[in-house]
Amino acid sequence: MNQRLYQLQSNPSVPAVVDASSEYRLVESAVGLQLFIADGSRLYGIDAPLDETLRESLHDSAAMESLLGAYLNSGAERAIGSDILSPPPLHSLSLNVAQSCNMACSYCYADEGRFGGKSRMMDEVVAFQAIDRLLLESDQAEPVLVGFMGGEPLLNRELVHKATRYAVDRAGARGVRFSMTTNGTLITERDAQLFHEFPFTIQISIDGNREENDRARPMRGGGSSYDQILRSLEILNAQGRPRQLSARVTVTPNTRDLPSILQHLLDLGFDDVGFAPVLVSPNPDAAFSSDDFDRFLDEMKACGRLAMAELKAGKPFPFSNLITALNEIHRGTHRPYPCGAGAAYLSVNAEGDVFACHRLIDDPDFAMGNVESGLDQNARSQHLAHMHVDKMQPCQSCWARYLCGGGCYHEVARRGRPGCDYIRGWIEFCIAAYAELSSISSLAIH
């Protein structure tokens, strides 16, 4: 995560805590009661004698402050202020090289790549301009990241290859990394060689075993996308794997048995596997409603328990939703924004127009300039000014707001925030998991 996102000044004049339940959360875990303090995302293990006292005082913010003051010497200054982030230097840019796709997944937010418009491909001129713009607008001493998105980016394969080499050449000693989200059905040997030669993180969208995956992710014109992916995996393994090869599962309310999907994909040899629930979809059946979230949370916890069994034994288990959460909790990440979109990360469409992120391509509300004529700093500032989590509802009163950040801009813009209970439930699970893991002294927590 771009560290610059967090260079906020502390603001002692922030209004006093409104309600203790928005600042503190008690979490039960296998190693005792944990206290999570939203400000600074601080986590404390509580010894038994204080349990009762804390539980009683939890709803009284004055009591909590004096209690904690006695034990923690915590200052009155907040770690997170309400200062708005002003647009930081750019760090990463994704190129929508192919607004078109060879598959017909029902839940696609991108309308099969078209984003509601015509199918189109990015050309070399725009791609190179985008890379130049990225290098210009970023910190000259820092490396950058170029992402290839779509639709299906490998439909514009030649551009991907050319743009990669162009970026490496122009970035020089600064260094450039690459990422790609692909459906994994079109990877050739030459592509695999590119992914191996340069620092690529490849994310393949796959929804489970052959039956599960092909049901949700059909090829246009028939055939098994799962088999295609297997072929691609063979090619990747033969040519030398990229730096990171991840699997992304899109979960709909009809998806069953997440733990077995997780295990199956790990067995296929992915470096990590992550789940993303569909919130925005042209197909209403494919998107989650509030009720669907309860079951989803149970399934995720089941996956989490599967992972914990391995992690406690010191073995790796790259269930990325959990691992990411554990890392963030460990570092005490406290973010007033959900991600870097509009801040250090932007996305470019086929014409060279810039938007806050790859999901918001062609959305005029999130337009932020053009790679040729320049970034719209005003639009970026406005975006950041409006989206601070302390200004959002119902986020203002949620204890988890600094770990969550307020939710994906795209999802919130289209559907609001139906998944808050799920997010809180999942974060609580992860806090308890973290407490348990960090109690095992033989594990090294990084």
Binding site: G40, Y44, I46, L72
Partner: protein, 656 residues
């Protein structure tokens, strides 16, 4: 708000994640001044100087310990009232005597007088103090005045000590001043020794303000190895060396002799005398550091020769490398056997002699043990060469060379005329007499050039792989370090055999070589001989099986080979103690395939287990008590071992 809150130091709130931990501000000395994080080098030290702690062992008094004339008081303040800071500026006070406990708080306190002692000696006594009550006597000159003798000091200190204990006060003091001019004659103070750490285990912040503990430190970037008291830096610089021509040993590296090739001066036995012949700091800084010679292998040298350039006219091809390594494995095998035979020919027992054994016995054991350890190294090399062959896809090579340093034949596939002169020495079993010792030295001698001697063959392979990047593209990264290790360890073997020769030189050969029986072996001894051969063959077979099956179970099989080796070792010693040496005969049956299949491996193991079992049974039937005992023990071990081996081979997943 609940009424009863537990006290802050009785409740644990444990910060778990990084921001929780960062939120707690801990004031005090930096974390690197914690004793447990130290380099254990604090005299003065790289993190903090331990001696700074004892400077304030009593409140209101601060001492310094670096003077030769004793421990001097440098600061005085509350709660001391008997003397002022102004006074000690004009008339410094010294620590004369101390009364306190250093052994156990159950015993009576001890008295120490510090007349004539240096500050550091005083510090050592202060350092030994237990926490608890202390009484000290301070006076205005180093040592005692003529008015106070040791018994008087004891009386004064004891009185103050007891008074302080009774009153239970933080500070009890008594001052004696002269009647005429009110000058201070002495002052005695009794307190509980300062607590250096507070109840939380943190170095007491009020005693040691930040910076106090680190105010004196080691400064290794100065060329201070001359006077480094803990010898940390001296141990990293040449200290005692040999002269350049190698003729004089134990010469002081720091002597100020410009022409160091001449006869170095005789050693002088007094500290000052020696020091006068050494470089001073000024001379060191003034340019001597540029004149000091390089010391290589403990020997001064003013000439520094560049490593020889590769002298191979033609590098080896992949096939030639494999062929050469195949041959070299057989040489390792041959050397192992020659070394072991030589070892068993000595009078050294298997186990280390007891502490009260005489010097000769211990020296002979040490020398023989060196030979044994070199043999063990060669076993490792034998395994490594086979591992390399396995990596390169070649067959394992476990036979024994008949000629060491043999010139290659056309059929062997080895590169012709690779070495200027081939050793061409036939394998033979020899006792460890002077001639054999010399042969061992020669065979391990390092070669400067790639085309000389046995070591040169490895160097040639190393250079061939190193300088041809296309050779063994996939495996070179793993192969190169192994070959380098074999060469390096070979170099050390040379040194070790040289030291063996040196340590056996004062003795007659009859002192350290066994009397070997001239009559044919008895039936029992023949059984032992057969047993040794059976073990010897089993090791070879297990190695072959290991490398035929690939690496999956390789580690466990190699461990099994080691256990067979231990059995062989024990049996051989038992035999040797009777004046009979194991013959290491080659197996009778026709050589089997180079690479064994799984069924063949299983058959081989079964057959070997049966042979060993039979030998042991026969030995048990007719042997002496020792031999019976060995047989019984080995029978149990061997059965278990071979069962395990068969399981490993059976379960090995590599081959159908």
């Amino acid at each position: 708000m609940p009424e009863e809150l537990p006290a802050a130091d009785q409740v644990k709130i444990f910060p778990r994640n990084l921001t929780a931990r960062a939120a707690k501000i801990v004031r005090g000395n930096p974390t690197n001044s914690r004793p447990e994080s130290g380099v254990q080098n604090c005299y003065p030290g790289l993190e903090f100087d331990l001696r700074n702690i004892e400077q304030v062992f009593l409140r209101g008094l601060a001492f310094e310990y670096h003077r030769d004339d004793g421990a001097i008081l440098v600061r005085v303040g509350a709660p001391i009232t008997g003397v002022t800071a102004e006074e000690i500026k004009n008339r410094p006070l010294y620590l004369w005597a101390m009364y306190g406990q250093n052994k156990s708080d159950k015993d009576d306190p001890s008295l120490w007088g510090f007349r004539g002692q240096s500050g550091l000696d005083v510090w050592a006594r202060v350092h030994d103090l237990l926490p608890g009550r202390v009484a000290v006597l301070l006076g205005p000159s180093p040592g005692f005045s003529s008015q106070i003798s040791l018994p008087t000091a004891r009386r004064i200190l004891q009185a103050a000590y007891d008074a302080g204990s009774e009153a239970g006060s933080a500070n009890t003091e008594f001052t004696m001043r002269s009647d005429e001019d009110n000058k201070l004659e002495y002052i005695v103070v009794s307190q509980i020794r300062s607590a250096y750490v507070d109840p939380q285990g943190v170095i007491a912040p009020d005693l040691f303000p930040p910076g106090e503990l680190t105010k004196s430190l080691c400064a290794p970037w100065i060329y201070d190895f001359r006077d480094c008291v803990c010898f940390y830096w001296a141990s990293n610089k040449p200290d005692i060396v040999d002269s350049e021509d190698g003729k004089t040993s134990f010469v002081n590296f720091l002597r100020k002799e410009v022409d160091r090739t001449d006869n170095p001066p005789q050693d002088i036995t007094t500290y000052l005398g020696r020091r006068n012949l050494e470089l001073t700091y000024e001379e060191m800084i003034g340019g001597w550091w540029e004149k000091l010679p390089v010391v290589l292998n403990d020997r001064e040298s003013t000439a520094f020769s560049v490593a020889p350039t590769p002298s191979l006219t033609e590098y080896l091809t992949e096939d030639q490398v494999i062929a050469e390594l195949t041959y070299l494995a057989t040489v390792e095998h041959a050397l192992i056997v020659e070394y072991l035979y030589a070892l068993y020919s000595t009078t050294a027992c298997r186990l280390k002699p007891a502490g009260d054994a005489d010097g000769k016995t211990r020296t002979i054991f040490a020398a023989a043990n060196e030979v044994f350890r070199v043999a063990v190294d060669e076993m490792r090399h034998f395994r490594w060469v086979n591992e390399i062959l396995g990596l390169l896809g070649a067959d394992p090579s476990v036979d024994r060379a008949t000629v060491i340093g043999e010139a290659p034949s056309m059929a062997s596939g080895r590169k012709m005329d690779m070495v200027r002169k081939y050793m061409a020495r036939p394998f033979s079993l020899n006792p460890l007499n002077g001639k054999t010792q010399q042969w061992f030295i020669e065979v391990e001698a390092p070669s400067q050039y790639a085309n000389q001697d046995l070591d040169g063959m490895y160097v040639a392979i190393l250079e061939s792989i190193n300088f041809q990047p296309d050779l063994f593209r996939e495996q070179r990264k793993r192969v190169l370090p192994i070959i380098k290790l074999i060469i390096d360890e070979g170099q050390r073997h040379f040194e070790r055999f040289t030291s063996v020769q040196r340590s056996l030189a004062p003795f007659e050969e009859s002192d350290y070589l066994r009397d070997v029986a001239t009559t044919p072996p008895t039936a029992r001894q023949q059984k032992l001989l057969d047993l040794c051969d059976a073990y010897y063959h089993s090791i070879e077979e297990v190695i072959k099986i290991t490398f035929s099956l690939g690496n999956l179970s390789g580690g466990q099989l190699v461990k099994a080979a080691v256990r067979s080796m231990e059995n062989l070792h024990e049996a051989a010693h038992l035999l040797a103690s009777q004046g009979v040496l194991p013959q290491f005969n080659r197996p009778d049956n026709a050589p089997s395939a180079k690479r064994l299949s799984k069924p063949d491996s299983m058959a081989m193991l079964k057959s070997r287990a049966a042979i060993i079992h039979d030998s042991l049974q026969q030995l048990e039937a007719i042997g002496t008590d020792d031999e019976k005992s060995l047989a019984l023990r080995h029978m149990a071990k061997s059965a278990a071992l071979y069962q395990q081996l068969q399981d490993i081979v059976r379960n090995d997943r590599n081959e159908p």
